[in-house]
């Protein structure tokens, strides 16, 4: 039993590597499809629109959505992007809670909001219509401010009325929400990388377009979609030179990084 577990783990590691023969990777896709394990979508920067993953509905567009995007869209209950499932609030409230960069600006801090609608336009491109969490009333003190490394903060428990249209690639992470009362709720980021690294080291390396640096090697798979979304003119900011030590996932992550450069090569 232990041996078969170890062999399966080693095999799994091997088929995830860049130097694995293409035929084996093809077989892994078939294996995943046959046995229903989670699809590994990391190496695919495009949005997957898969019939199995999306519930199509009749074209009855809610008024508040049609006022912004018109009638010629289709709404969906779920959408899988880069291996993560997002849902609208009426279907699964937890899966609808996302932190995102508002107004397509990476420089602004990520704000929490709840996906109200998921829709695709004529070209099949999918967008989220998100209502932002309202600000905390000024008379309430946030007790989480004392703990800088706990990514929790208090927000208003109501959602703003306005719908914001957000591209899935501008989603930063999911968050957990605990509603205290009618005024306040706790928002806890579920990001597994931490915001400062995404805003600093990745951008620095992507924009210098110079030599490939070791500190980028340990960037995990789940922030790749943000790298792709980075505009090439993003200002360079360096937070530290010694960022990561090399992990044994190095090869896999080098591959991801190089693919990012290929997709979004800086013009300077």
């Amino acid at each position: 039993m232990l041996q078969s577990h170890l062999r399966a783990s080693t095999l799994r590691g091997w088929v995830s590597r860049q130097d694995c023969p293409a035929v084996l990777r093809e077989l892994k896709l078939l294996f995943d499809k046959s046995f229903g394990t989670t699809l590994d979508n990391h190496d695919n920067g495009s949005i997957l629109v898969d019939g199995d993953e999306m519930d199509w509905e009749p074209d009855i567009i809610p008024d508040e959505l049609s006022q912004i995007v018109g009638q010629h869209v289709k709404t969906h209950a779920h959408f899988r992007y880069q291996g993560v499932v997002y849902s609208r609030a009426s279907t699964h409230r937890g899966n609808s809670l996302v932190q995102y960069y508002p107004n397509n600006k990476m420089a602004s801090p990520a704000v929490p909001g709840s996906i109200q609608y998921i829709y695709s336009d004529k070209g099949g491109k999918v967008f989220f219509a998100i209502q932002r969490q309202s600000r905390l009333p000024s008379d309430i003190v946030d007790p989480f401010r004392l703990y800088p490394h706990i990514p929790a903060s208090m927000w208003g428990s109501q959602l703003q009325q306005e719908l914001e249209i957000v591209d899935p690639s501008w989603i930063f992470s999911h968050y957990a929400r605990y509603t205290i009362d009618a005024q306040a709720c706790v928002v806890l980021s579920l990001s597994q990388v931490g915001i400062e690294i995404i805003a600093s080291s990745c951008c620095t390396d992507l924009n210098t377009s110079g030599e490939y640096q070791h500190n980028i090697i340990s960037v995990p798979v789940d922030c790749i979609n943000l790298l792709i979304a980075l505009p090439s003119f993003y200002p360079i900011s360096c937070f530290g030179s010694t960022l990561c030590t090399m992990s044994n996932h190095a090869n896999m992550l080098i591959y991801h990084y190089q693919s990012v450069r290929h997709i979004n090569k800086p013009s300077t």
Partner: protein, 167 residues
């Protein structure tokens, strides 16, 4: 109730009671990362000035030190700054442990926790070397039907299922 995405493992409903059974490693993790920091902060922070409330506030600060260290240690990207902060949190937690909870004896685990920052420096983020895969394997083993005879071959179709689960 805390709203969480479907990929977050749930906390046991009867946490703290005997009926909750053994808390699994993944459950401890989501408790320390999500549920306990929210619950304890809301319950113990800034409630008043009496001796009991002050003690609870100190206990909260102390526990949050451990949660901060855990979070820093579990991030999928690490840096020297993060490792140093994690180390300081661990040391601060152990130093205050004796003051706040003098009845607790020091255990080997406490000593081992101090070494985690060294391993972060050596091997990188814990994601690539933590033992959750083996924990999952133990879970698979526990769920397997056996005939209680050691040394005989098990030819149940579950063996193949186990292989698939490894993927």
């Amino acid at each position: 109730m805390t709203d969480t995405p479907s990929w977050v493992s749930r906390a046991p409903k009867s946490f703290g009671e005997a009926s909750a059974g053994t808390i699994k490693a993944a459950e401890w993790r989501s408790l320390a990362m999500i549920y306990l920091p929210i619950a304890l902060t809301l319950a113990w922070a800034d409630k008043g000035t009496s001796a009991t409330e002050q003690h609870l506030k100190a206990a909260l600060d102390h526990t949050m030190t451990l949660f901060s260290a855990t979070r820093l240690a579990c991030l999928r990207v690490t840096s020297e700054e993060r490792i140093k902060a994690c180390e300081e949190y661990f040391i601060q937690y152990l130093r205050d442990l004796q003051k706040l909870h003098p009845h607790i004896n020091m255990r080997t685990n406490f000593h081992m926790a101090i070494h985690i920052p060294d391993f972060l420096r050596l091997f990188g983020p814990v994601f690539s070397w933590w033992t959750f895969p083996l924990e999952r394997f133990i879970g698979t083993l526990l769920r397997m039907p056996t005939n209680d005879r050691i040394g005989e071959k098990d030819i149940s179709p579950r063996s193949f299922d186990c292989l698939i689960q490894c993927f």
